[in-house]
């Protein structure tokens, strides 16, 4: 028994050491967001000399933070809602109806996850640009839906398979429609998957740089990652305000993650998926 207890604490120690390794780069960011770029270049490990918020205020101004934040928020929230709704329904369709067309579509979506974005980049801007459809948040959200649905379908497909069909059958017996059954019976069971996908998709869209840089041309539409351009020059990076900007950018998603994580745990303890 003592040996076992010793093992448990060893495991805890290993976990925390590993955690420290994981967090080191993060700590360096926080520490250096209070220093000047010059001090950072000199020695990234030196401690800040005081708690100056200069980097934060200058990042706030130069990123036009509030506007960028609102743009990022609208785009991320709407895109994720659309992706989750679309892909959960389609995932369900693909599991419950083994039609040939569904098989092909599922295969195509799966394969598209292996598609390098660079193949699509030029044709995408060419098509949408010549139709005059670029430079709109709605089109960007639509594109996120197109790019995000395959992974969503793939994930939901995997988990819906594990839900016994009997649950739905009994609902049908009571005269419930297909749509109603999906939203009332199946969706609630998928809560942990939803939460997981929300986290993954929010992070992807919140931090994405390339796609919005191609689609959103007006300065008014800039998202937070697009707003960091002032910190990058051709050969070097202005680290300090960048790090301050970075911290301000990730605080909202960190808060979201902490909040949703409780949901994940709840899902686990309830054993929602059996």
């Amino acid at each position: 028994m003592t040996a076992q207890r010793w093992l448990v604490s060893l495991k805890t120690i290993v976990l925390y050491v590993l955690l420290l390794v994981f967090l080191t780069p993060f700590l360096i960011i926080i520490m250096n967001s209070f220093k000047t770029t010059e001090q950072f270049v000199d020695n990234p490990l030196s401690l800040p000399q005081g708690l100056t918020l200069d980097n934060y205020t200058s990042a706030w101004d130069s990123m036009n933070f509030w506007d960028g934040f609102m743009n990022s928020l609208t785009i991320t929230v709407l895109s994720v809602l659309v992706i989750l709704l679309f892909s959960s329904m389609t995932g369900y369709l693909f599991v419950r109806f083994k039609w040939r067309v569904n098989g092909w579509l599922f295969f195509a979506m799966l394969a598209s996850l292996a598609l390098p974005f660079q193949v699509l980049m030029i044709p995408l801007v060419m098509l949408y640009g010549n139709l005059g459809l670029l430079d709109s948040k709605a089109i960007l959200i639509f594109m996120y839906a197109g790019f995000g649905v395959p992974f969503g379908v793939f994930t939901f497909h995997g988990f819906i398979k594990g839900i016994p069909y009997e649950l739905e059958e009994s609902a049908f017996m009571e005269g419930s429609s297909r749509v109603h059954t999906f939203f009332r019976i199946v969706l609630p069971l998928l809560k942990p998957v939803f939460v997981t996908l929300i986290v993954l998709d929010v992070l992807w869209i919140w931090n994405d740089y390339l796609l919005p840089s191609l689609v959103l041309l007006s300065p008014d539409y800039r998202t937070l990652p697009l707003s960091t351009y002032n910190f990058f020059s051709s050969y070097s990076v202005d680290f300090s305000p960048l790090m301050a900007g970075l911290i301000m950018t990730i605080i909202p998603v960190l808060v979201m993650y902490l909040f949703l994580q409780k949901q994940i745990i709840k899902g686990i303890t309830e054993g929602a998926l059996k």
Binding site: A111, P116, V179, K274
Partner: protein
């Protein structure tokens, strides 16, 4: 099939699949077909001209020995990254689903690398590898870190693997955690107990039950590491002397810097074929495992 049933099925398809399929077609499939078409033409943005040139671009791909070297390099990189990230993520996730106190903070901690986008992350690690570690190496006489990892061909490879895995682990961890949600609590408890039968429990009960999560995780880590671009760009810039150019990096350089758009695009199609074959084969194999168990 009766007409009425057919109508009903079409309705179901349009309702459940319609929006997804439209978005998927408009954003992924059609641009892909256009892109595929471009590989058979001599299109470039400058002339806008696109006359058919047959397989000329693919012949160039075949002759581009650097591309094949880099594809091999990419395969090695993907293999190491996928194995490292999945093994670590599986065990961390397992250790963090026992319902003990402090777990929530640990999970958040392991996940934080994902909060930062790839480019910034790459720059940060670049500073770590080229400044911080050599500084510490010199101070404490660790010969492993005496020089920057990024200026040595082999060490730069491992730097890429470590940074990618470092970010992927947290990502995969939460998928595994969601997957463990399907495992009955008493089994989880048993797996977390440190007894002699622990590995057996993991192998015989946990693994089969978490196959969906494993399939997803391996698939995700495969496609993500195959398509790594940002980290490559910011961390090593393909250096030292182009020895760490991953396939996507090479493709972008080819298409936009060397201005051979058709060849770059054709190489991207080849890469897509390779990734698709690898990823689909592994999920097919794992699925069979799932059926058998």
């Amino acid at each position: 099939m009766t007409r009425k049933q057919w109508m009903r099925n079409t309705g179901i398809f349009l309702l459940f699949g319609g929006p997804s399929v439209i978005a998927f077609m408009a954003v992924v499939v059609i641009p892909f077909v256009v892109g595929l078409y471009l590989t058979f033409t001599n299109w470039d943005v400058n002339t806008g001209d696109s006359s058919l040139v047959g397989l000329a671009n693919y012949k160039q791909v075949w002759l581009d020995t650097v591309f094949w070297q880099q594809l091999w390099f990419t395969l090695r990189y993907v293999f190491c990254t996928v194995v490292l990230a999945n093994v670590a993520a599986f065990f961390i996730a397992l250790a963090l689903t026992g319902g003990r106190r402090g777990e929530q903070w640990l999970r958040t901690g392991f996940f934080t690398p994902n909060l930062i986008g790839g480019i910034v992350l790459g720059y940060l690690w670049q500073t770590l590898f080229s400044q911080v570690l050599p500084y510490l190496g010199e101070k404490y006489g660790w010969s492993l870190f005496a020089t920057s990892w990024l200026t040595d061909t082999d060490k730069a490879f491992w730097a890429l693997v470590i940074v990618t895995a470092w970010q992927l682990i947290g990502y995969l961890m939460i998928i595994y955690i969601a997957g463990f949600a399907g495992v009955p609590g008493d089994i989880l408890e048993a797996a977390n107990m440190d007894g002699a039968s622990r590995m057996a429990i993991i192998r015989k009960i946990m693994l089969p039950l978490t196959v969906p999560a494993i399939v997803i995780c391996i698939f995700v880590s495969l496609s993500r590491s195959f398509l790594t671009y940002d980290i490559n760009l910011a961390l090593t810039k393909g250096g030292p002397f182009n020895s760490t150019e991953l396939a996507t990096y090479h493709i972008v350089q080819k298409a936009f810097l060397s201005n051979e758009y058709g060849v770059g695009q054709a190489e991207a199609v080849v890469l897509f074929a390779v990734v698709a074959i690898v990823a689909l084969t592994q999920s097919y194999l794992l699925k069979r495992l799932e059926v058998e168990s």
